[in-house]
Each structure stands twice: as structure tokens, then as C-alpha cells.
């Protein structure tokens, strides 16, 4: 069934000579917004104007000359909608449309040629993915997760299957902005690398910007992961329960007021320590979990309001304990609460989005009741984003205010900072027009102005641009921009097992900056094949990293560094009726140049060039899924060349002889005699994961059973080398998995 709900208002002034139409496009079954739907207005002479819906399902066609038109709305997998509409001068129509799924794709994995998402669909650094993309991947859990998908992307490097740290195109983990419904999530990944705060069940879509992103994402220099959650079913109750040895989950949604207000909630809790560890020949002292809840309301035909909340917790010990080395637990907790209001004002020709959110991250090291050190970043964010549509341009503009507060208590072995507090207010204003220059050629120009009240660097202006040219099966895109960042997380990168992150403000006189440049080409030579190639280059300056030291401990002293990252991402996606798969290959190079004062003394050079530990030169991901005799079989082979690590000459003690002293009693320190930073290369990494699923359907529920194995051929992949004991810290061995999922509706 396809429905349209029509409302009519009138305009005055400059708009009065023409008419416009706008509205929301949703799914008939559950009321979810449909993004990427084609909306076309045809006159007797052919297509007049077209566009696609935003992630909120909003379309907006303006400057329509009075007359009679046919509105056609189509989306792959859904029945099309068409209606004949007569526009009068000055008329502003609001038409909300519901599309019904055809069910055609149920028997096939993915058959669409026209799709806005997919493994190879990357345009100027932006890739949009949906839960379907995540669910295809084999994981130890029966439901998909954003983290598993991200690690298949070229240019995304994880240090291993634990630790919760992702490096995107040369940046540090804290250089990535992660948002859900506009709320900041500072540490979105769980301690076990398959999982993030975002199970596929809660996701509507996720935009992954690996470079060249726009104005609303100002404040991070590496990447943006912008997650939009589902609104929940407005027409009926539905939910799921899943049990697996790693994680168990429950999800529930339904109408609070039928067709108007819906809720959606999801809870996951790890069972790794209690279940999986029993049969995996490795200690897995990890506990983690997450909860997400959202209420979404249709206030009127032209406005919607949602309130979302997120909570995550992680705790565990990474590394190997020995007689002489006691490891400390690390833990982190995220909490976020946000409000989002989207309105198509009756009197104004644009879409307004208002965001208000509060986010907090607490990280700690040591016992949970009495941590040795901890840091907390928290703050409110406000933003108002406006989008207006004209015949050949689309203008986005807006303003925002952010005020992160950082508190750190770095007792114990930290060298120069015991307790600290800082607050970095900033207010921003941006303008971002999209120009449709000629048929198939689109350009976006971004201008951002920011003010930092009360700080030495009082403000800045940044500009960015994107260019997309599309003709037939070919698409060429390019982008460039200037970015900055005021707060960052500090880790001891000498030791991969030390994942404690202390957040800090950049020293006031300088902010971290990055210049992005990228160019890409995408082609679909056949309806079933898509290939994309994207090259990128990033120059990062005023990158603050932990100072190099021979003390075998973390330091909060900063050293300035510059960075350069470049690479080439090749993606090939195959969509056949009974097979779907993709190959992602990433070639990359990351170089840091540190400017620590002691470099001259220590290394005989003012500037020390080195490859940081996330400089993985080659990455290859092969993902395939097919249906055999009613069973869905998925496999993923992941290969990564070795990452740099520190080599050591040995260990001794250090006593600062700054005067004549009693050598029988003077305190000293243990010391690591390092070689030059990150000159060693760890062995290559590869792993095959396979799962087999079978669905049993009835009218009211679906039961899904899954069996599989992680690291099928039991490859011994090194997570970290304990330099202090020379012990090898291995990643997961072969791990058989099994799970059951019960979906009801």
C-alpha cells in the first residue's frame, strides 16, 4: 500500500510566483524514514526536477512554475508512488508519502543495481551503510555491529581484536568524530574489537566520512562516523532476543501512540568472561555492554522530535601478567542524552534541524572503586542546521556551540600532571552551498567561522570543497579542506596493551590542524559490479603525542609532531542474485615527525621521523555471502601487513646523579633502553571468519540459528609483544561460535 497525506499552505513575497512541495517519505510497515528515495516531478514535456530524500526521509522541490505535474516517488524494493498535482502560484504543498516494500528482495541477498549504499559506493570520502551491510559479516554474535564493518574498510586500522581503538586514514582514535543522532560518543568501541556501541539493530544508516567532510562536523581532523538510529515501529510491536557466547542482546520497539509516537530500546551484555572464556584457550577478562533508547514523535505533518540516550561500559585487562608485572585494569563509560527536532516551517522555505545533547566519557585505570588515574570529558552541544532548496542550489547553514570540559586525575606514575581541569568553549557559524553546475556536475563549498571565547587563539575561518561529476556509470569526485581539533586523547603508543586514554586540551596557543585532499573514481561497468578507487593525502600539523621516554610507563608530557598520511583505496563490489561479495584493498603510508626538544640530545636530530604504530601498509578484506540450500553462508578473510613497533636493546635502572648522594639508599627507576622509535615491524596478520545461518519463519516470529568460527585456520596473530617480558600476546585463536536469535513482531 502506498499513501500520500497532503497539506497545503501559501507563501508570499519572492516565493509567491512559484510553488513548492516537500514532505517525509516513510516505510508503510513500521513508519521508518526512507533515505535515498527518488522523488521526481514530471511535466508534459518530461522531467522537471528531481532529488532524493535525506536520512530523515525529507524531500523538498522548490521554484515550481504553476501548472499540473506528475509526482513520481520510487525506491528499490518498494512499490512506486505517483500522483498528479496541480500547483498554483505561491502554493507550498506538504505531501508525506508512505511506501510499501514489495518483498522482492526477500528471496535474494542483494539484487539492486540502483543503491545508495554498498561496499564500493564511496563518493568523495563518504560511504553510507545500512544494517544490511553489517549483518552480512561473520561475527561471533548473531547480530551485526558497526565495528565489524568498519574494520573491513581500507584505510581503517585496528591494533588487533581488542583494545577498542580504530585509526582512520592516519589519524589517532580521538581524531575521529563519532555521533549518534547528533550526540558525541567519545569512545564508541568496546574492549573486544568486534563490538561498538552500535549494534545493527538500532541503526538506520551510518555515514562514514574518511576525509573531506563538511561544516557540521568541524572539530575533528581524521574522520566522522555519523550514525542515525532507527525511530522504532509506529504501527506495531516488535523485538528480538539473541543469545551467543560472546554477547547476548535484547531489543524492543513499538508505538507509544499509534502512528505518532514510537520507542526503541536495545540492551547488550557481554558473556565473554563467563561463557566464551570457558572454551577458548585464552584468558578473556573483558566485561562490556551497552544500552540505547529512543523515543520519536511526529509532532505535526511537518515536524518531528526525538530523544535518544546511550550508555556503554567496558572493563578489562589487556596484556599478560607475569611474576614481576602486575597489570592494571582499564575501563571506560560513555553516557549521552540528546534531543533532535526536525521541522519544515510553514512560513519558511527550509528544513530546520535543532540538536541539543550532553555527552560524557569517563576512562580509568586501576581498580574500579579506587582508580589510580582517571579522566573525564563531558559537555553540552547545541546546533541549529538549516537547509534550503533552490532550482540549482541547495544551501546549508547553521550555527553551533560546544563546551567540552576535561578533568583528569593522573596520579601514580605520571610525570608532570597530577590533576587538571580545562574547558574549551567554542561557537561556530557555517555556510555550505551545493551548486548543481551542469547536468551531473555538483560542487559544494564550505565556509566555517569559529570563535573560542577566553582563549589565546580567538577564532579561525576554514574552507572546504567537494566536486562530484557523474555521467552514466562513471563518477569522479574530489575534495579538499582544512580542519582543526581542540581536544584529544593521549595514549602510550609504545605499548599496544596500554589502552588507557587520558583526554586533554590542546595547549592554548596551537590547535591540531589537518589539510585533506582526495580524488576518486567509481564505475559500474555492469549492473552487478561496482569498482571504486580513491586516493587521499592528509597533512597534519600540531599533532600532540605522548613524549618519548625511557621510563617504562605512560607519560602525560606532550611533544609536538607533524604527520603525513597518504594512500589508495580500491573497492570492488559484486552483486549477483545468489552471491554478494566485495574486495577492499588499502595501500597506505603514515609518517610522523616529532619535534621534541630532547630529540637533538637523544637521537642527534631536531626532527625525528618515524612510522607510528598504526601505519599498516597493506590491508585486504574479502567478504562473500551466498545462500546454499536455505542456509546463508558468510565468510570474511582479512589480511594486514605488519605494523611498526618499538625494538629494545635491553633493560636497566636509572638513577639521576645530580649531585653527591648516598648510593645505598637513593631511589631509582627501572628503564627501557629503546632503539629508535618504531623501527621494528610486527608479523603480518590474517584471519578467516565463517558463519552459517538458517532462518525459520512463521507469521509472528523468525528464529535464526547461527554456527560459525572465528579464525577458522587458527592463525597465530600477534596482538602485542610485551617488550618487558618478551611474551607474545596473541589475538583470538580459532573460536567456534553458535547463536540463536528470536525476532517477533
Amino acid at each position: 500500500m502506498t499513501l500520500g497525506t497532503l497539506a497545503v499552505t501559501s507563501t508570499t513575497g519572492a516565493e509567491a510566483q512559484t510553488a513548492s512541495i516537500r514532505g517525509f517519505v516513510t516505510d508503510t510497515e513500521d513508519g521508518e524514514a526512507l533515505a535515498g528515495v527518488n522523488v521526481v516531478l514530471e511535466s508534459n514535456t518530461g522531467i522537471l526536477r528531481g532529488g532524493s530524500t535525506s536520512s530523515d526521509g525529507i524531500y523538498n522541490l522548490t521554484r515550481i512554475a504553476p501548472g499540473t505535474y506528475v509526482l513520481r516517488v520510487s525506491f528499490v524494493g518498494y512499490t512506486s508512488f505517483s500522483d498528479t498535482l496541480a500547483f498554483r502560484s505561491g502554493q507550498r504543498l506538504t505531501l508525506n508519502i508512505e511506501l510499501a516494500a514489495t518483498g522482492a528482495e526477500l528471496e535474494e541477498i542483494v539484487v539492486e543495481a540502483e543503491t545508495e549504499t554498498g561496499a564500493a559506493r564511496v563518493t568523495a570520502g563518504l560511504q553510507t551503510i545500512t544494517p544490511k551491510d553489517m549483518d552480512l559479516l561473520p561475527t561471533p554474535d548473531i547480530s551485526g555491529d558497526l565495528a565489524s564493518f568498519l574494520t573491513t574498510l581500507p584505510g581503517v586500522v585496528s591494533l588487533g581484536d581488542r583494545g577498542g581503538q580504530l585509526f582512520i586514514r592516519g589519524g589517532e582514535p580521538s581524531h575521529n568524530m563519532v555521533l549518534v543522532d547528533g550526540m558525541y560518543v567519545y569512545q564508541p568501541y568496546h574492549i573486544l574489537g568486534f563490538y561498538s556501541a552500535f549494534p545493527s539493530d538500532i541503526i538506520h544508516q551510518a555515514d562514514i566520512h574518511t576525509a573531506g567532510y563538511g561544516a557540521p562536523f568541524t572539530g575533528r581532523i581524521a574522520s566522522v562516523i555519523d550514525v542515525k538510529s532507527r525511530n522504532g515501529n509506529k504501527h506495531g510491536y516488535a523485538g528480538a532476543l539473541a543469545v551467543a557466547p560472546f554477547v547476548s542482546a535484547a531489543q524492543f520497539e513499538g508505538p507509544l501512540i499509534r502512528d505518532r509516537v514510537s520507542f526503541m530500546g536495545s540492551v547488550r551484555q557481554s558473556l565473554v568472561k563467563t561463557v566464551a572464556q570457558q572454551y577458548v584457550q585464552q584468558d578473556m577478562p573483558y566485561t562490556f555492554g551497552d544500552a540505547f533508547a529512543k523515543v520519536h514523535a511526529i509532532i505535526s505533518p511537518t515536524s518531528q522530535l526525538s530523544v535518544s540516550g546511550l550508555y556503554t561500559h567496558d572493563r578489562g585487562t589487556i596484556g599478560l601478567e607475569s611474576e614481576d608485572r602486575i597489570l592494571e585494569e582499564v575501563g571506560w563509560k560513555n553516557a549521552a542524552l540528546g534531543l533532535r527536532y526536525v521541522v519544515l516551517p510553514r512560513a519558511l522555505p527550509f528544513v530546520i534541524e535543532i540538536l541539543l545533547s550532553y555527552s560524557r566519557l569517563e576512562t580509568q585505570q586501576g581498580p574500579s572503586d579506587e582508580p589510580v588515574r582517571w579522566s573525564k570529558i563531558q559537555g553540552f552541544q547545541y546546533a541549529a542546521n538549516m537547509t534550503s532548496f533552490y532550482e540549482r542550489t541547495q544551501w546549508k547553514w547553521g550555527l553551533y556551540w560546544r563546551a567540552p570540559e576535561i578533568t583528569a586525575h593522573l596520579g601514580g606514575l605520571f610525570q608532570d600532571l597530577d590533576f587538571g581541569f580545562s574547558r574549551r568553549h567554542k561557537a561556530g557559524l557555517y555556510l555550505e552551498p551545493d551548486f548543481y553546475i551542469t547536468s551531473g556536475l555538483k560542487a559544494r563549498v564550505t565556509l566555517v567561522g569559529e570563535l573560542f571565547p577566553g582563549q589565546e587563539d580567538r577564532g579561525r575561518i576554514e574552507s572546504r570543497f567537494r566536486l562530484i561529476w557523474q555521467r552514466g556509470e562513471h563518477e569522479v569526485s574530489a575534495g579538499a579542506g582544512l580542519y582543526h581539533q581542540e581536544v584529544f586523547g593521549l595514549n602510550d603508543r609504545r605499548d599496544a596493551t596500554n589502552v588507557f586514554t587520558s583526554w586533554r586540551s590542546a595547549p592554548t596557543e596551537k590547535l591540531s590542524e589537518a589539510i585533506h585532499a582526495l580524488a576518486g573514481y567509481r564505475v559500474s561497468p555492469f549492473p552487478w559490479l561496482e569498482v571504486s578507487l580513491e586516493g587521499y593525502y592528509k597533512k597534519i600539523s600540531e599533532l600532540f603525542i605522548a613524549e618519548w621516554t625511557s621510563y617504562p610507563r605512560f607519560t602525560s608530557r606532550l611533544q609536538r609532531a607533524d604527520g603525513k598520511a597518504g594512500g589508495l583505496d580500491l573497492r570492488t563490489e559484486v552483486r549477483l542474485p545468489y552471491f554478494y561479495g566485495y574486495v577492499n584493498y588499502g595501500l597506505s603510508s603514515v609518517r610522523y615527525t616529532s619535534k621534541q626538544l630532547s630529540n637533538e640530545l637523544w637521537f642527534g636530530t631536531e626532527r625525528l621521523h618515524f612510522r607510528p604504530p598504526h601505519d599498516r601498509r597493506h590491508q585486504l578484506n574479502l567478504v562473500g555471502t551466498t545462500r546454499l540450500n536455505g542456509f546463508d553462508v558468510s565468510a570474511r578473510w582479512n589480511f594486514g601487513s605488519g605494523r611498526p613497533y618499538n625494538q629494545v636493546y635491553g633493560f636497566d635502572g636509572f638513577l639521576l646523579l645530580d649531585g653527591v648522594m648516598d648510593l645505598f639508599n637513593a631511589p631509582d627507576e627501572q628503564r627501557v633502553i629503546y632503539g629508535r622509535p618504531f623501527r621494528g615491524i610486527l608479523p603480518t596478520y590474517h584471519r578467516l571468519d565463517v558463519t552459517v545461518e538458517r532462518e525459520f519463519e512463521s507469521k509472528l516470529f523468525t528464529l535464526t540459528a547461527q554456527i560459525g568460527a572465528i579464525n577458522v585456520y587458527d592463525r597465530r596473530n600477534l596482538f602485542a609483544l610485551d617488550l618487558f617480558t618478551t611474551e607474545h600476546n596473541w589475538q583470538l585463536p580459532i573460536v567456534p561460535t553458535a547463536g540463536l536469535r528470536f525476532d517477533f513482531r
Binding site: T549, L597, G650, G653, L655, G659, I673, F724
Partner: protein
């Protein structure tokens, strides 16, 4: 076509080889056996050196004997002295090996320390005992306006003075008659003495130090300490041999922790030097204390 294919193949093989390793070699070749931190003190009969074996993994130091024979040789005469191991337990419970020897070292003598492993590999260092110095407290010029400089003369020719501690022994009161707060505060005057004929002149800036002392008293106590009385001062001068010089001018552990950055040990790390301490105690004249800002109460100018 064959040529292009070959080039392409070579490029792929080259790129692949730049990133792919199958083995992990975390230990770099290193022959040095020991790190040594030792001092020959001409003002003491006992000389000591803390010895660390350079190990392939980090372990707590155990009390078992280490594989080291430690000797010093007086290079002027060839006389050799064997050092003995003693295991000490530090406050944190960890053990250390401190080798020691009993002999009298005289100014101008040059010693070589050898720490030899059973396979013959050794670390060594040479030091020359510095000449003696004498400290003299000079009369300050109390008439100099806006200054409170307390002069001290170091007679002699010390090769280095790695450390000069100026200690203020202080008593603070929130008000007259309140509970006294005793506090010693230490100031580092290394690098401050000016060379003059016959020695070095050290001028202690009481006025500048007072502002720091006031800040410390003010921040450490709940009640503002308005009365700060200087009871006396101790000046300790560490005299070292010619090697006892920080490459960065100051002894900052965050810089000098890097192995080799401050070391005179051949085939090893650490520092082996010779040196001694000279100290003197005094109380500056009342008028100088008043100029500096210290409380002098009812004391008159001749009350020193």
C-alpha cells in the same frame, strides 16, 4: 607488453615486501653488560657504585649475586682495589646491588672503574678526584636599594658544581602567638656562581626567594601566613669532577633518562664520577631579612 607486465609485477612485489614480515625480532643486538652509578668521595673512606645488569627483559632485581667483578685502579700507581657486593632493599621492597670499597681517595688522583662479566665483557669509566674548596660567608651590602643579596665565596677551583642547595629553615605564623608552622624550603642555585679570581662568588637572592616562599606558605596552609621568620640557612655545594656536567645545562630527569644522554661509562650506561659536599650554615643580617620581606619582629639591626 611483457615489459609493462614485468614492471607492474615488480612494483607489486616491492610494495608487498615493504610491509610484510613473518618474524618478530624485538631485541636489537647489544653487547654492553652493565649500567653503573657510582661516586668516589674524597671526604669519605667508603665509596659506592650501584650496578645494574643490562637484561633482555624487565624483571625485579633479585638478591642473588650478579655476574660482575668490580675493581678500581688508581691510574697514577696501578694500585688495584676490589669492590664488594652488598644487596640493599629499597623502601619499595625492591633489591639493588651496591658495590663498595674502603680506601682513601685524594684530590687529583685518577681512578678507572671496571665492571667485568665472567665472559670478559666489561663496562668501565674513569674519574679524577676534584680538588678541595672552602666556603666563606661574606658581609652583604645592606645599603644597596631594592636588593637583598647574601654573598658566599667558594674558594678553590672546583671542576664542576653539579648541585648547590640553598635551604631556608623557616617558621610561619598566621598571626603573632598562633601555632607555628615549621617548613624547610630548598632552592637550587646550580649554575649561579660567578667565577672570580680565587674561586666563585655565589649571591643568594633573598628577596626573589622570599616571594616563592610566601607563595608556598600561602598555598600550603588554610590560613594565610603573614609572618615568616627565617631561622637560619644551610648552603650545600656539591663539587664534582670535570665530567659531571649535564649536556642540557640542568639535571632534568625527563631528558637525562634516555640512555647515553648523560654518561661517561664505556660499553655501558650510567655515570661514574668523583665528588664531595661542602656546606655552611648561617643567618643573614636582620636588615637584609627586612629588605627581603622576612619577619624580624623586635630584633634590632645588631641582633645577628
Amino acid at each position: 607488453m611483457m615489459r609493462q607486465t614485468s614492471i607492474l609485477l615488480c612494483t607489486v612485489v616491492f610494495l608487498w615486501n615493504t610491509g610484510c614480515r613473518e618474524t618478530v625480532d624485538s631485541r636489537l643486538e647489544f653487547e654492553a653488560p652493565f649500567s653503573v652509578y657510582g661516586i668516589i668521595n674524597p671526604k669519605s673512606n667508603v665509596h659506592a657504585a650501584r650496578i645494574f645488569e643490562i637484561k633482555s627483559n624487565i624483571m625485579l632485581v633479585h638478591p642473588d649475586p650478579i655476574d660482575a667483578v668490580v675493581t678500581t685502579t688508581l691510574l697514577d700507581t696501578g694500585e688495584k682495589q676490589a669492590w664488594r657486593d652488598s644487596v640493599v632493599q629499597l623502601d619499595d621492597g625492591d633489591y639493588r646491588h651496591v658495590y663498595w670499597a674502603e680506601f682513601l681517595a685524594r684530590p687529583g688522583e685518577t681512578y678507572r672503574l671496571n665492571v667485568v662479566r665472567s665472559d670478559g665483557v666489561q663496562s668501565s669509566a674513569v674519574t679524577t678526584v676534584p680538588p678541595p674548596v672552602e666556603l666563606e660567608v661574606l658581609e652583604p651590602d645592606v645599603l644597596k636599594p631594592n636588593q637583598a643579596l647574601m654573598p658566599l665565596f667558594i674558594h678553590g677551583a672546583p671542576p664542576t658544581m653539579p648541585r648547590i642547595d640553598v635551604e631556608y629553615i623557616l617558621v610561619g605564623f598566621a598571626e603573632e602567638g598562633s601555632v607555628p608552622i615549621f617548613k624547610p624550603l630548598l632552592f637550587n642555585y646550580a649554575g649561579k656562581p660567578q667565577q672570580q679570581p680565587g674561586g666563585y662568588l655565589l649571591e643568594i637572592d633573598l628577596r626573589e626567594d622570599y616571594s616563592e616562599i610566601y607563595r608556598v606558605f600561602d598555598s600550603d596552609n588554610d590560613v594565610s601566613t603573614d609572618i615568616i621568620d627565617l631561622r637560619h640557612m644551610n648552603v650545600t655545594v656539591h663539587v664534582g669532577d670535570q665530567n659531571w656536567v649535564s649536556p642540557i645545562g640542568v639535571f632534568d630527569e625527563n631528558f637525562l633518562v634516555e640512555p647515553g644522554s648523560f654518561s661517561n661509562v664505556d660499553n655501558g650506561f650510567g655515570f661514574f664520577g668523583s665528588g664531595y659536599i661542602e656546606s655552611v650554615s648561617f643567618r643573614p643580617p636582620v636588615e637584609l631579612l627586612r629588605w627581603a620581606g622576612f619577619y624580624v619582629g623586635g630584633e634590632n639591626d645588631s641582633g645577628r
